[in-house]
């Protein structure tokens, strides 16, 4: 319990840092911050809306610490102002619509990449020095050093534009309405093939390398030798003795690389015009929609923190030492 409480305090601190960056940035820019924030909205928003926005972002005629508290209060009540690009929708609502798509895309990709990478890593380490190992380990590292934008553009060109096997954009066929039926889910999956492939290709390598190196370390341990010596089957030693222990550091690595998946998902969404947070951030950046951009940083930080919390909980389940106290 203490462990989880400590982690929660840490996540709260991390979130406050993200909010403080948002608070500080417009104030560090030359010129009137509220003018900068709303520069693209000239003539489109009424004075009342402008005043309300000013208050949301803490531009009140008070000392700086009160401005900060005003801003924190709006953030904590999830009042992120009004989007300029999607005027008059509030930022929170615009983000809420895009969030499920990114959670689906980045979440599925992270999970599949973790499973694929760890499984390949276990087997590369098990057959250390085999041809499989000599090929897959450098290959994984190599793939990892190719940016998502490059993989996405190449996939788009080959399978989308030239071969026309897969749709080149959006999350589902434009004629469909979102619903939980086979046609819609099928269409959504079909549209997710290329973005998912891009994300998995660019992220499974890190898991493979971590898992391989942990596993190589485990294979030299006494308990693994003991398991082999008492005549346990190959698979049982590999998965139940070696891999099980090697998995713990891998899970930490998983939490750390989630941010990477989110970053990769950002560009991938832009290339495939996928209606998630990444694409929204891109549209916001082009339109210099600062309230939207700032809201993005907060929601993406929250997403990473939530994912980290889940990893922490899994860790508590897997490592009995953390359950004491």
């Amino acid at each position: 319990m203490t462990f989880i409480l400590l982690r929660l305090t840490f996540y709260l601190a991390a979130f406050l840092v993200a909010a403080s960056i948002n608070f500080a940035l417009p104030r560090l820019m030359p010129g009137d911050p509220i003018d900068i924030m709303l520069s693209q909205a000239e003539g489109r928003i009424s004075p009342e809306v402008r005043d309300r926005m000013a208050e949301t972002f803490g531009f009140v005629d008070k000392p700086l610490y009160q401005e900060y508290l005003t801003y924190l209060a709006s953030v904590l009540t999830w009042d992120l102002g009004i989007s300029i690009k999607f005027y008059p929708l509030p930022v929170a609502e615009v983000l809420g619509r895009a969030l499920p798509w990114t959670v689906f895309l980045a979440g599925t990709a992270a999970l599949l990449a973790f499973i694929l990478g760890s499984w390949l890593g276990i087997n590369a380490a098990w057959r250390r020095g085999s041809r499989f190992d000599a090929f897959i380990s450098p290959a994984a590292l190599t793939l990892q050093s190719i940016p998502a934008v490059v993989v996405a553009l190449i996939l788009l060109f080959v399978f989308g534009v030239t071969l026309r096997w897969l749709p080149t954009g959006y999350a589902y066929a434009p004629a469909l309405d979102p619903a939980l039926d086979f046609t819609f889910v099928g269409s959504a999956l079909y549209h997710a093939v290329m973005p998912l492939t891009t994300l998995i290709l660019t992220s499974f390598g890190a898991y493979l390398i971590t898992m391989r190196n942990n596993m190589v370390g485990q294979l030299g341990e006494d308990h693994v030798m003991m398991a082999t010596a008492k005549g346990l089957g190959d698979r049982q030693v590999r998965y139940r003795y070696a891999a099980r222990n090697a998995l713990l550091p891998s899970i930490t690595a998983f939490a750390l690389t989630l941010g990477h998946v989110l970053g990769g998902s950002l560009v991938t969404e832009v290339v495939f015009n996928y209606p998630g947070l990444g694409n929204l951030l891109y549209l916001g950046v082009i339109a210099r929609d600062y309230p939207l951009i700032q809201g993005q940083l907060l929601i993406m930080t929250l997403a990473i923190l939530a994912a980290n919390l889940i990893v922490d909980l899994i860790y508590v389940l897997l490592d009995p030492r953390l359950r004491r106290g």
Binding site: A13, L141, Y290, T301
Partner: protein, 285 residues
């Protein structure tokens, strides 16, 4: 030292990687010699496929893809190495300080490192770049450098902590060596492989991230770099009209330099950590 270097070069992955990186460095340095004109000059009709005059084709604006690629390598490499240096310097400084001094210093620095690690990098960079406006390559290098040291600091700290327990460190502490000498003479040489892994990794990360930021339109559109080439290709719908050369050239360049650098990293890892070697290397040892 010379022995380490020889072992490093005998590693086939490291040698291939080094060759790729040196190739790009030479291309970047020789840019004025191997290209005929300014990279932003219009020299051909729009979207000409590769031919004798334009070996890699031309862009929508009639610019020569080859010339842009060669000049672009200057920007991409310079940004990569500069940010790599900043990241490594910060990461090493923070990691070593935190690991060596321990106590309150460690608590504070480690806390800061953990925070930097959980705030999503790319969205943060987008926010910074959006407020800065059209960020030139130098600004991009600096903001990447200042925001990406978390991983390096964490790894360096862990290694410093484990080194601090070793006997030779205990011995020199017992001899009363001052802290600066302990860090510079006893610790840093033993951290060399971690520091170089961190440096190369950061260069890869920066080249990728710079290209991504510019692709998203946050760079200075007049700068010539691989990222702005991708950006221009994207906004002129090069892929949809079938001008594959305009997209393929920068993609291939970014991918190969990334592969080259990561091969070097693989080599460093294998030379410094015999346990992860694959058969060829293990057999040779």
């Amino acid at each position: 030292m010379a022995e380490i270097l020889r072992a490093f070069l005998r590693n086939r992955k490291a040698a291939v990687g080094l060759a790729i990186v040196i190739f790009y460095v030479v291309v970047a340095l020789a840019a004025p010699l191997i290209t005929a004109h300014d990279p932003n000059k219009r020299v051909a009709r729009p979207h000409q496929p590769p031919s004798i005059e334009t070996v890699m084709g031309s862009t929508r604006m009639g610019r020569d893809v080859y010339t842009q690629l060669v000049w672009g390598s200057r920007t991409s490499l310079a940004v990569g190495f500069l940010a790599g240096l900043i990241v490594t310097a910060l990461g090493t400084l923070i990691g070593v300080t935190s690991g060596y001094f321990g106590g309150k210093v460690d608590e504070i620095l480690n806390f800061a490192t953990n925070i930097v690690l959980v705030i999503p990098q790319l969205p943060l960079l987008l926010v910074l770049a959006a407020f800065i406006g059209e960020a030139g390559p130098l600004v991009i290098a600096i903001i990447i450098g200042l925001t990406s040291w978390g991983w390096g600091a964490r790894v360096t700290r862990a290694q410093t902590l484990s080194l601090r327990q070793r006997e030779f460190i205990e011995a020199s502490r017992a001899l009363g060596e001052p802290a600066w000498r302990m860090i510079l003479v006893e610790l840093l040489p033993n951290l060399l492989s971690i520091i170089s892994l961190n440096f190369i990794g950061s260069v890869i990360y920066t080249i990728i991230t710079e290209a991504t930021l510019e692709f998203l339109g946050l760079g200075d559109p007049l700068a010539v770099s691989w990222g702005t080439m991708l950006y221009n290709a994207q906004i002129t719908a090069a892929i949809t009209v079938g001008a594959w050369w305009e997209v393929l050239a920068p993609c291939a360049a970014i991918a190969t330099i990334g592969i080259g650098l990561s091969l070097i990293n693989f080599g460093i890892d294998e030379v410094s950590n015999p346990r992860v070697r694959t058969l060829r290397a293990a057999g040779a040892a």
